[in-house]
């Protein structure tokens, strides 16, 4: 019971809970005929598209009502009023909002041609527009930044799951003993310390004092997998240490709850060893809340690991997004937000599928 409510709480935290509720759509669009797993995937995909659509509208509106002269900022402080006017023309800043938005959708579906003064540049089908600042295609920009962010978050996720769930299992098993208290203290300290403190300490100790690793510098996975991993080790660790504590506490709580349940009593009464009860029965109960929390953390870390990216000089999405917001680079912001939104929704959808596979009582509705 409380596990389910924890799950619900988590999904509403992600701010996308309304999207989980796409059942309402079924009546409208005749999805009632789709049942089973295929139907679930189709409904989920439709949900993703609708979410992203809503997100892009919101971002457009927010930027439209934000005060400040976008043309002036884009052009630079030393531009003359004529130049600013020209930039505004070029960026279609004087068009009404819906025209600009329509233009954006057009580019997304069919591609777009942009004239940059002298030449005409073609932006192919999933075109998110050109950056106001650099005239670079946003799609291309994202494609260069995304691998960095995903590398960081995937690696960190593996670490935080191992560290967090491991610690949680240990403290549930050794509940009430010194082991548990030490583990709780360590994980709490991990959460309470900001990433730039942990990260800096790690860097100073590991790279500076002990010289075990070179100072991190991003290397493409495709270029050199080994260097990729070594260079990302510290960023992974500092991001994972922050997240691990919440997984540890969640795992511990869920396991203790399961350990108090009647079916665990059954297996105890049949002489099953505590070890097997923990590994087979109690851990299984922690699965659902852990995947729910993980989906949420993974999704938000794709765009939200700005501090880690900045600290370790990783040219990821988060850093780029912060920069784009500062200079009101609307196409970049919209593009980045859409990508982040995509991963949040995707992570939650994957979590739902895993959840249903783990617990057959859950019907994919």
């Amino acid at each position: 019971m409380s596990r389910l409510s924890a799950l619900k709480g988590l999904s509403s935290l992600s701010g996308l809970s309304g999207l989980k509720d796409i059942n309402g759509l079924r009546g409208l669009s005749g999805f009632a005929v789709l049942s089973g797993f295929g139907g679930f995937l189709v409904r989920r995909a439709v949900g993703v598209v609708l979410t992203l659509f809503a997100v892009s509208v919101i971002v457009y509106v927010v930027f439209y009502v934000t005060p400040g002269n976008v043309a002036q900022i884009t052009c630079g402080p030393r531009c003359s009023p004529e130049q600013v006017h020209q930039v505004a023309q070029q960026l279609r800043l004087n068009d009404p909002l819906y025209v600009r938005y329509w233009h954006f959708l057009e580019g997304l579906v069919a591609g777009q041609d942009y004239s940059t003064g002298t030449s005409v540049e073609h932006c192919a089908a999933p075109c998110l527009g050109l950056s106001y600042q650099s005239d670079q295609q946003v799609t291309g920009l994202i494609l260069t930044k995304l691998p960095v962010s995903l590398s960081l978050v995937f690696g960190a996720m593996v670490l935080w799951l191992v560290l967090g769930v491991g610690t949680g299992v240990l403290s549930a098993w050794r509940r009430g003993r010194p082991t548990e208290r030490v583990l709780t203290a360590v994980t709490l300290a991990g959460t309470a310390t900001p990433v730039f403190v942990i990260g800096l300490i790690l860097m100073i100790v590991v790279c500076g004092e002990l010289q075990l690793l070179p100072f991190p510098q991003y290397v493409n996975l495709t270029d050199d997998p080994e260097q990729w991993a070594w260079n990302l080790l510290l960023p992974w660790l500092s991001l994972a240490l922050i997240e691990a504590a919440s997984f540890a506490r969640l795992t511990r709580a869920a396991m203790l709850e399961t350990l108090a349940e009647d079916h665990v009593r059954t297996f105890r009464a049949y002489g099953v060893a505590e070890r097997s009860i923990i590994a087979r029965h109690a851990l299984r109960g922690a699965f659902a809340p852990v995947i729910a929390l993980n989906a949420n953390n993974f999704g938000s870390a794709v765009g939200g690991a700005v501090l880690t990216e900045t600290l370790f000089g990783l040219p990821g999405i988060g850093q780029e997004l912060v920069h784009a917001v500062n200079v009101v680079d609307l196409p970049v912001v919209v593009g980045m937000v859409l990508v982040i939104g995509f991963f949040v929704v995707l992570a939650n959808a994957v979590a739902d599928v895993l959840y249903a596979l783990a617990d057959r009582r859950v019907v994919l509705a």
Binding site: A32, E261, D262, A269, V272
Partner: protein
Amino acid sequence: MSLVDVTDLTVEFGALRAVDGLSFRLAQGAALALVGESGSGKSTVASALLGLHRGTGAVVGGSVRVAGTDVRAASEEELRRLRGGRAAMVFQDPLSSLDPYYAIGDQIAEVHRVHTRVSRRAARARAVRVLERVGIPDAARRSRSRPHEFSGGMRQRALIAMALACEPDLLIADEPTTALDVTVQAQILDLLHTLREETGMGLLLVTHDVGVAAESVDDVLVMRHGKLVEQGPAGTVLAAPAHAYTRELLAAVPRVHVRREAETLESRAPGSGDPAALGQGGTGHESVGRPAETEDVRQPDGPSADASDEPAEAAEAAETAEVAETAETTEAAETAEVVLEASGLRREFGRGRRAFAAVDGVSLTVRRGETLGVVGESGSGKTTLGRMLVGLLEPTEGEVRYRGRARAGVDPTVQMVFQDPVSSLNPRRSVGESIADPLRARGEKDEARIRRRVTELLERVGLEAAHYDRYPHEFSGGQRQRVGIARALAADPRVIVCDEPVSALDVTTQAQVVALLGELQRELGLALVFVAHDLAVVRQVSDRVAVMRRGRVVEEGPADEVYESPRDPYTRQLLDAVPALDPAVAARRRARRRSTERREPALT
């Protein structure tokens, strides 16, 4: 050597002494029931036999030896070998007692492998065999199902299969049938009986239901407040209890084969069974008037198994002869005003292909001062029907008429008393406030008047005025149900629909609440609709009875007629499944059930 040897057992949880100096023995292959009301410590004893209190903070004293193992002194390893291997336990709630995530066959195999060095495959095969043994059809395929895909009865069978897997010498069954319907209960008890005959294992049955004990065991041990009250052969203890508490407990058990007795009971049989000890009238819960049966069960082990049939049948025949007399009373009732009338009620749940009708074409009338019993097993639609009568649910088809008028929405003169006295009261508000709700809903604003009326109601249902400001957790189950009744009365209802009002209560409390409802009915001329699964309780409160199955009323009529000469085969099946208080009668009925089962195999 005894299979179980318990000497001077005490179990303490902090300051609470749950078991207090209990001693008993169980011989190899024998069967003993621990009988008691909630809080008597009977389940605690069962857990202590397997050393399940270890590590929980409970303090266990005395000596417990099970199958040669000293449970208190045993090492973890010895204890693990005992648990499941020598003594296996079957728990009350078959849904929560199995891991929801794993296939049933895998869970049985897991337990089996703890005790025997066999391969996974062999353990799995063993699981299928024991599932077959307990009567799971198509066991090989069904062993891959998860618990939620099994019905309640099948889950309990699966748990029994788990116990069988390791061929224990002792089976401890803790309320094994409490969560089950009466027909399923009979099947499970029959199964336990058969298995015991075949394997020769000992049985320790923990139950609050004297009938279940009478069906299943040789010896009975009655417990109260952690102490032994009385112990002896089932026939003797149940027929001629030596201790006052046992008499009281037995007197409170509603009898399905005894007709509802008039309120003149006390004056007719003063002193017998001491009904005054119950505090309430004990309407129809008296065990007087069947001396013949009492006589012969004194020697249940004797060769009189056949002879015992005779007087019991005679008693039943005598009851039938009285039908004519009751017919008069029902006739008188038929002239009373019809207060509630339901016609063609139908209620569907779900949409499209998943739609099903929980109630399907039910028509009923309830007259002033009359009690209509609605009886049925789980899923029969009786609660849905009750909710529609009160207006908490809108019927899909049909209508409810109240005193000739079509009723729109909830009517204050039709009230409801709910099953669970814990969750139907707001834990954050005093009971007085809860009772005052209907008054305030009616627009009463004068605080002094509200308080006066609520106090009156509290006293009317047997509580005290001072209880006004107390909170629900301070009350016992029976008291909470009294609060629920007071709340229903607050709106000055003409009709009260009671949905399983006593099923969460101990028998003695049950008898008191039933008596209270009867008193209120007579005094206020209330019409009652009494929805319950317990056939005996329904008989003891109802003038007329409607038997429900799968959303339809299969039989309706005056209570005594329905119970004594049921027309519908389903009603007969239900009545046959009710546990008898007399071991000899129980054995006879078991034989009858077995022969019918051979003809038409059970569905569950």
